[in-house]
């Protein structure tokens, strides 16, 4: 892999961010926002695998996020086990759900899959919301005080930030390796033209299913990280449609189907959301989603490729302009 200055700057920036902001007045708050940013990026990257690369638009990824959030906390509530133990089980549940949804729908046209993801997400949210064993509408809590290091309860957001960052790096690596492989090429071919892909021997249904299962597993991890940090989950925060929306818009805004698009999307949206929540106060979330709706529509209408695509088109011209200007400056100085 040829490291490019862009990705070096990005990772470097992410690496030192908590340290840098610790010197400011609202350091704690900014570090928390940072952790949310990285977490959002993980979820978006996970969605990106099936929604971006494979082009199968899941509008119900909250199912997998919720599985990852609920199972570890359930492990604690029912067995007093550290939530960490529940993480692999959350992945198993998520992958099973992926198979349940993907198997019948991937042999049909794309819309069925999207509709099914919304329906199943809502179905699970309703069931969980009315099932006392899993907390019903109230939700489940994790350990309040740490019993040992593996409960992963920290006062500061910084340890969480770095754990999340490590997971993000792993997720990006997995995406990168996948995109270069036969599997990745087949996914992109499916997105670009299913019929042509089939004629070249791509087993479309199986490939889509595998992509969904991989995506579900990674999304589940994101949900688990959320549950561990926040220590609490309920049907709204774990399985609500807004969880799904967040993942989609973050990936799409940055650039669905690109490696860094989801991260760029998170860098734009999470601070934005934080700001609107502060400005608009309690009713902020309503206005935020009006804004999100508008952004998504504009994206779809004008630049479905997101920021990355925009950069590809505008970037070279911009750079040339800047270089030309720098040249004239130097000529003038001479």
């Amino acid at each position: 892999m040829r490291p490019r200055w862009g990705s070096i700057v990005l990772w470097g920036g992410l690496l030192v961010y908590p340290l840098v902001v610790s010197f400011t007045d609202s350091g704690d708050f900014l570090q928390d926002v940072g952790a949310s940013l990285v977490l959002s990026a993980i979820g978006a990257c996970a969605w990106n695998i099936v929604g971006g690369y494979a082009g199968q638009v899941s509008v119900g990824h909250a199912i997998f996020f919720g599985a990852g959030a609920y199972v570890p906390l359930l492990a604690y509530e029912l067995f007093q086990a550290p939530p960490l133990i529940g993480v692999p089980f959350g992945i198993v549940v998520a992958v099973a759900m992926a198979a349940l949804i993907g198997l019948p729908t991937f042999r049909l046209q794309g819309h069925y899959f999207s509709m099914a993801t919304i329906a199943v997400a809502e179905l699970i949210r309703l069931v969980v919301g009315n099932w006392d064993l899993v907390g019903a509408a109230i939700g489940i809590q994790g350990p309040a005080t740490p019993r040992a290091w593996w409960d992963l309860i920290f006062r500061s957001a910084v340890p969480y930030y770095y754990i999340f960052l490590a997971v993000l790096a792993l997720t990006v690596y997995i995406t990168w390796a996948m995109a270069r492989s036969r599997f990745g090429y087949y996914l992109r071919a499916i997105r670009a033209g299913e019929r042509a892909a089939r004629s070249l021997g791509v087993q479309v249904r199986r490939t889509k299913l595998m992509a969904l299962m991989l995506s579900a597993a990674l999304t589940s991890v994101a949900g688990s990280l959320y549950a561990i940090k926040v220590g609490f989950v309920n049907p709204e925060s774990g399985l609500g449609i807004l969880v799904s929306v967040q993942m989609i818009i973050t990936a799409a805004l940055g650039g669905a189907g690109t490696l860094y698009g989801p991260i760029i999307g998170a860098i734009i949206l999470v601070p934005l959301q934080s700001a609107t929540n502060t400005w608009f106060g309690g009713s902020g979330s309503g206005l935020t989603y009006i804004l999100y709706g508008g952004i998504i529509m504009l994206l779809a209408r004008f630049e479905p490729g997101g920021f990355v695509e925009l950069w590809h088109q505008v970037g070279p011209r911009l750079l040339r302009l800047l270089r030309a200007r720098a040249k004239t400056e130097r000529a003038r100085a001479a």
């Binding site: 509709m115 179905l123 009315n130 709706g293 508008g294 529509m297 779809a300």
Partner: protein, 284 residues
């Protein structure tokens, strides 16, 4: 007896489902496009009815007002958004109406708040007794009108010149063009018709049931289930499926519990996808 009552209520609501689902499946069959904001169109129809009461006009205005307002919205959405994303990737197609749904839903939340409302009492209030079964007058009217309109839509599509032009575009866009039909215009019209069907359905429901901006999400899902059960692009299928879903929902609510009626319906959806994805009348 109460079971029968629940069934009747379910069928009446099912008629309304049939009406707005017909609109969704029309677009699906014609343009291979699913409108994820369709539920919000229904919701808007309800609020149009509310606005009509605010200007002190009577219930006979609800339907026409909703029809006109939503037809306009449908055409505008097509011209401004759908027309352009149709040729693009699936992602932008789905995102376009999904974004619209969010925009409409949360705008409604912002303006009207999230409380459930009912329309002020009118001559339609009260219950009727049909052979021992008690039916709310409003529900009866809503159901009957919806049923008639859904049927009317089917007749419009299959027996009028306009309808055959719409279906021609659905069948073969290029051939239709060669026959002098303008696909663009027909598609805009179809969107208007689809949105209007949703709007009227909403206005009719507003007479009989409480509503809030949150119902759009539920109706969208209901519409998905109905059109999938009815079959890709089939308006008659959507009609039959609408009644079935209304019935199933009501019976599930009565027999198992009101909380679970949605769960049963969505579960039915997954079952349909597994067992008979082409639906009842679909050509898949």
């Amino acid at each position: 007896m109460i079971l029968l009552q629940a069934a009747v209520g379910g069928l009446l609501l099912g008629a309304v489902y049939a009406l707005f689902s017909s609109g969704l499946t029309l677009i699906w069959g014609m343009m291979n496009f699913i409108n994820f904001a369709h539920g919000e169109f229904v919701m808007l129809g309800m609020y149009v009815a509310l606005l009509v009461t605010w200007v002190n006009l009577g219930p006979e205005v609800f339907g026409p007002a909703a029809a006109v307002a939503l037809m306009l919205l449908g055409v505008i959405v097509y011209m401004g958004l759908i027309k352009h994303v149709m040729r693009g990737p699936m992602l932008s197609q789905i995102l376009s109406t999904f974004g619209l749904a969010l925009l409409l839903r949360y705008s409604a939340f912002y303006i009207f708040k999230s409380d459930f409302r009912t329309l002020p009492d009118t001559a339609l209030s009260g219950t009727l007794s049909l052979g021992g079964i008690y039916v709310s007058r409003a529900q009866l009217l809503a159901g009957l009108l919806a049923g008639v309109l859904a049927l009317g839509m089917h007749v419009l599509l299959t027996r009028t010149a306009l309808g055959s032009r719409l279906l021609a575009v659905a069948e073969d866009r290029n051939a239709a063009m060669l026959m002098g039909i303008r696909p663009d215009r027909m598609q805009a019209l179809a969107w208007g018709l689809s949105a209007a069907s949703a709007g009227i359905a909403g206005a009719l429901m507003a007479i009989a049931y409480p509503f809030s901006p949150s119902v759009g999400e539920t109706f969208a899902l209901t519409a998905f289930v109905v059109v999938s059960l009815g079959g890709f692009g089939s308006v008659p299928g959507a009609m039959i499926a609408g009644f079935i879903i209304g019935l199933v929902e009501a019976l599930a609510g009565y027999l198992i519990g009101p909380i679970y009626k949605d769960v049963i319906v969505y579960g039915l959806f997954v079952a349909v996808l597994w067992i008979r994805p082409q639906g009842l009348l679909g050509t898949g």
